[in-house]
Each structure stands twice: as C-alpha cells, then as structure tokens.
C-alpha cells in the first residue's frame, strides 16, 4: 500500500478509538444517556415550558426504572449463558398476586410466597433448559403460557387481598424527598450482581458456559447445574421486580408486568450483553434500563402511541445486536 504516512496514522488512531469504544461500551452508553436527557430537556422546555432535568424528575426516573432494573438483572444473567427468559413478565405478575394473596396471613408470608413463586417458575425453566436441553425461548414461552393460564383462572376468582405495608413502602416511598426506597434495594441487588459476576466462581462459570458450553463441560463445569441455578436466580429477580411493581400500584392485575418483557430484553441488549452469551455484564444493563426509562418519558412527552413504542423497541433490539455483532467481529 502506498498510503501517505499521515492517513495511516489517522487510520490507526481511528482504529484505536474504535477498539477503545468496543472494549468500553459503557462510555458510549453514558453519552447516549446524556444526549437523551438533553433532548428530553429541550422537548420539555418547548412543550411544557419547564426544565426536565430537576432533582425531582431524576428521582422519579430512578423510581420508575427500579422494577425494570430488577427484571433486566435476571435477564442479563440468563442471556450471559446464551439463553433468554420470556417468562419474566408473567413471573413478576404471578409473584405480585402471590404477595397480595398471602399478604393477608402476614407480611413475611406474603413476601416469601412471592419469592417462592419466582423460585418454582425458575426451577421449571431451568430443568427444561438445563436438563432436557429444550431451546430456552421455547421453554420459557411455554411456561409463560402456563402461568398466564393459571393466573387468569385465579385472578378471575374473588379473593381477599392485602399488600403488606413494607411492600408499598418499598414500592413508592422516597427518603429525604429524593431517594426512592426501591432504588436502595436495586442498588443493593446491583452491587451483588456486578461483584458476583466478576469475583465469584459461579459468576465466571456463567460467562464460561455462555461462551462455550462444551468446553466448560470438558473443563469440569456441571453445565446443567449452572443453568438451573441461573433460571432460578432470574425467577427470583423477576419476583422482586413484581414486588416493587405491586408495591407501586398497590393493586395486582393481570397486565401488571406485561409491558416489561420487551424492555427487559432490550435493556440487556442495549447494555452490550451478547444474546449469544459469554459477553457483557450488569453494568451495561443498568445504563440500558436508564436509557429506556428516559426514552419512555421522551416518548410520553411526544405523545407516542403504544404501537410506536413496540416498533421502536423491536428495532432497537435488531439494530443494536447488529452493531455489537459487527464491532466484536472486527477484532
């Protein structure tokens, strides 16, 4: 090649920048989040005549984002292993019903019942995927149709409901005006997930199984146990998401978490976790959740309709996966 030295240098600098951004997608995500805040601010000033970025609004953003953050946390773990859990939305709804149903017997019973629902559904998914090696999508679609059927039976019957006070406090209260209680729980869970993925043996195993299940099996990893555990974790996190949601609305209904399914996948994909497994982490997902929440406020400001949201989220999944796939392939 007879390119001039300067262009070569510029090209290599460009390549270095590209590599830096590929290795640190968080940088881009933060920029995107800031840009979204700016756009929303401009639109809000234009339409309402008030600034959008206020402490109150940021606090509300966190409050709205926390349930999605929980559900997307489980989704991140599952997607790291190369799977996907399409039953998270109905798991969250089922947990919400269990909480309000057993809440009549006591606070602890209610919360435990909700978490137990998450464990049972996760166990069913995990056994199907890990032991019988059913395609995760098919398995979780199947369980979600069963959960929905059962829910529509029991939700139709009148039963006494009581949502424990702790749950409503957790779901909607704010400390010191600006610090939502659910964000504290989310922060704790996030710390466990981020640290656990990096520093525990199980965390590393998730990446290994997602990257190459055969190699991990040959290296002595009991792949099926890892998979069962990850779906159980995902079920529990979805149940926690359902807990926060029912605490917020104070009334369980069948469509409580339905609108969280697609964003939970989209948030993980935006966060740079590969849907093929073995690559990513929860840090990116947190930013993905915040980006989607701000995008949601922006779409509400712009009076976007439900169909536009569906199309936008669906397109985001495809376009971003394509971009990430291209970026990681060029290495």
């Amino acid at each position: 090649m007879t390119a001039a030295p300067e262009t070569v240098e510029r090209e290599s600098r460009l390549r270095a920048l590209q590599r830096f951004l590929t290795d640190n997608p968080v940088v881009i995500l933060v920029l995107v989040l800031v840009a979204l805040f700016v756009v929303t601010e401009v639109v809000n000033r234009h339409q309402v005549g008030e600034p959008f970025v206020t402490w109150n609004q940021i606090s509300t953003t966190l409050l709205v984002a926390a349930p999605l953050g929980m559900i997307a946390g489980g989704q991140t773990l599952v997607m790291l292993t190369g799977g996907v859990d399409l039953s998270v939305a109905y798991t969250a709804t089922a947990a919400a019903f269990a909480i309000s149903w057993q809440g009549t017997n006591g606070t602890l019973e209610g919360i435990l019942a909700g978490l137990l629902v998450g464990v049972v559904i996760g166990l069913a998914n995990g056994v199907g995927v890990g032991v019988f090696r059913v395609n995760p999508l098919v398995m979780t679609l199947g369980t979600s149709s069963v959960i929905f059927g059962l829910l529509s039976i029991y939700a139709g019957q009148a039963f006494e409901k009581r949502i424990p006070d702790v749950v409503t406090t957790l779901g909607r209260e704010r400390f010191h005006t600006y610090l939502p209680a659910n964000t504290l729980l989310w922060a704790a869970v996030a710390a466990v997930l981020v640290l656990g993925l990096s520093y525990t043996g199980y965390g590393r195993m998730l990446f290994a199984v997602g990257d190459n299940p055969l190699a991990s099996r040959l290296a002595g990893v009991r792949v099926w146990q890892v998979l069962v555990a990850v779906y159980v974790l995902c079920g529990v996190l979805a149940a926690l998401g359902g807990l926060l949601l029912v605490g917020f609305t104070n009334n369980p209904d069948l469509s409580l978490a339905t609108s969280y399914l697609l964003p939970s996948v989209a948030a993980v994909v935006i966060g740079g976790t590969s849907i093929l497994g073995g690559w990513g982490g929860y840090g990116g997902t947190i930013l993905g959740v915040l980006i989607l929440t701000v995008l949601g406020s922006l779409l509400t400001l712009l009076d976007a309709e439900e169909w536009e949201r569906q199309v936008i989220y669906g397109s985001i999944i495809i376009v971003l996966t394509a971009i990430y796939a291209r970026a990681t392939r060029s290495d």
Binding site: N135, L137, V138, G142, L262, I275, Q310, V311, I318
Partner: protein
C-alpha cells in the same frame, strides 16, 4: 434421491417399504396418533360426526397454516418467532379493508395480503442474512415490530369480510360433507409446497437446513435459499392470518399471539427437528389437528376453558421436551 436428509448408501439393499417406513415413520406415527384419538373423541361427543369434523377443521385452520409457516423456516435451519404477530398483522389488514368488499374483490385482496406477507417474511430473511445475527434475535425483534404495526392498523378488534369469504372456511365442498377448511389446507400443501419440495429449491432448503457449510460448498446459494424459505413462511403466515379473519369473523391485533408457541409445538410434534433439515409439512399438519383436538376433548369433558389452556401449555412443553430428547438421540 428422494430426500436430502438421509444419504442413499445407508439404505442400499434395504427393501423399499422399510426404507420408506424409516424415512416417514414419524409422520405416519403422528397421523396414527390423530386417528387413535378420534374414537375416544367420538365416544364423548353428542354431536354428529359431520358436525364435529367440520368444527375441528375450522378450529384448527389457523394453526395448520401457522405450523406450515414455521415448518418451512425450521427445515431451512432457522426459527421464526414472528409467525404469530405477522399472522395478527395480516388478520387486521384483511379485516379492515375487506369489510365493504364484494366476494370477488375480497379474493383479489387476499392475493395482495399473501404478497404483503411474503414481502414481510422476505424482509425478515434479508435482515437475518445481511446482518448475520441469529434468527432468534431478528425474529424476536420482528415479533414486536409486526405487533406494533398491527396495533397501528387497528387498535381495537373490528372489521370483517363478505359472507362468502367466511363460507370458504366455514362451509363444506358442494353437497358433500367434506369440510372446506380441511380442503383448503391440503390444497395449499399441494399447490404451494409440494412443487417446491420436489424441485431444486426444496432440495436446497433441506440441504441448507441440515448443513449450511456443506450446502455452500456444493454451490447452493445459502442466503438466497434462506430468504426464500422465510418468504414461503411469510406466505403461509399470510394464509394463517386470512384464516383468522375467516374463522373469527373480525380482525384483532392480539389474535396471533398464541400461535408462535403453538406453531413451534406443532412443528416439533410433527417430526421437524429444530436443528433443521429434517421433516416435512404433512406431519406438522397432523400435529396441528392433534393439538386442537386435545383441547376440544378437554372442553367436551367439561374442563374450565382456562384450565384447558393450561393443560395444553403443559402438553406443548412435554412434546418439546420429548421431541428434543428423541431428536438428540437420532442425531448422534
């Protein structure tokens, strides 16, 4: 070479009937299961045989086409999670525009619908082959895109079609007792699938599905074949959407949602391996009737319809689990 799935030398010196039995054993088995269910169903039912068969054929019509759509794509080595929402989209488009039409116009408009859904399926295939991201991700995204477009076309259920259009699916053929809905399914099979299956494109679909690299090295246009399979899948999804319009009488953006999972179950039960390259469309048709009939039997026995949906969901999971185990065994 009647099938791309089994190499010829394996069967050298084996009588033809045994060879056929091994090739088509699963399909024959599924049809036998369906036939075996009929006497039990008849013993429960109070209605005449003709009435029952007619009701079953109408009930199963959308699922039959959805299963065929899924089968073509799965045989080519992909999976299409957007089948259900594409069906729903075609359902609302047809119901929205057909309501004031004459029968002739409605039939012509059906062709437009099939063209649209072929283009939609082809678009999905193009996105998959161009971006090279896995089928599952793209079709998951398209699931929501088509659903969103469906909501845009028609937010709340409504619309309709001319009476003769309904009669196509709800009536019988002439003065006989043969249900129109069943004839349509087999007509679509004979007209749309068998010519392709027996000619070059069909062979390519099986080859690409069973081993993409080997197919590429043998000079088959892999990308072209896969896009073609998604287009054909789109045509069947369009037929399924029209079937929804004809059997339900209206358009409903949510109407297709259960069909994604049910079509996958029908395909697995019908002997198509999710790994690609194995199976046909005749098996999944029988499986669609079995799944519909199992729900009908539960309802006749007085099961709460919601419970029937739950049992059907459990049955589907079991089918997929067992099918997965069996296909793993035969692939070793």
């Amino acid at each position: 070479m009647t099938s791309a799935t089994v190499t010829a030398h394996e069967y050298r010196g084996v009588p033809a009937w045994r060879r056929n039995l091994r090739l088509h054993g699963w399909t024959i088995g599924v049809w036998l299961v369906l036939l075996a269910m009929v006497p039990y169903w008849r013993s429960l039912s109070q209605q005449s045989f003709e009435f029952d068969i007619q009701a079953l054929a109408i009930d199963a019509l959308p699922l039959c086409f959805a299963a065929m759509a899924q089968a073509v794509v799965v045989i080519s080595g992909g999976i299409d999670l957007s089948v259900g929402s594409l069906m729903g989209l075609m359902n609302v488009i047809s119901a929205k525009h057909m309501i004031g039409m004459s029968f002739r116009e409605a039939i012509l408009f059906s062709l437009v619908i099939l063209l649209l859904s072929a283009l939609a399926g082809g678009f999905t295939g193009l996105v998959i082959t161009f971006t090279r991201i896995p089928d599952i991700v793209v079709t998951l995204g398209m699931l929501f895109v088509w659903y969103g477009v469906g909501l845009w076309v028609m937010e709340i259920p409504g619309g309709g079609a001319p009476q003769q259009f309904y009669d196509l699916a709800l009536g019988s053929i002439g003065s006989t007792q043969v249900p129109g809905a069943m004839v349509i399914v087999f007509a679509a099979l004979v007209v749309l699938w068998l010519p392709i299956r027996w000619l070059r494109p069909g062979l390519s679909i099986y080859a690409v599905g069973s081993n993409r690299n080997a197919a590429y090295l043998s000079g088959i246009g892999v990308a072209r074949t896969r896009v073609g399979a998604y287009m054909l899948g789109g045509v069947f999804a369009g037929l399924a959407g029209l079937a929804l319009t004809a059997t339900a009488g209206i358009g409903d953006p949510n109407s297709g949602s259960i069909y994604t999972l049910n079509s996958v179950a029908a395909v697995v039960l019908g002997g198509v391996s999710l790994l690609g390259g194995v199976g046909g469309l005749i098996g999944p048709i029988a499986a669609a009737y079995i799944l519909t009939l199992s729900k009908t039997i539960l309802l006749i026995r007085g099961t709460d319809p919601n419970y029937a949906a739950v049992y059907q969901g459990i049955l589907i999971i079991l089918v997929v689990v067992i099918g997965g185990l069996l296909s793993r065994k035969t692939h070793r």
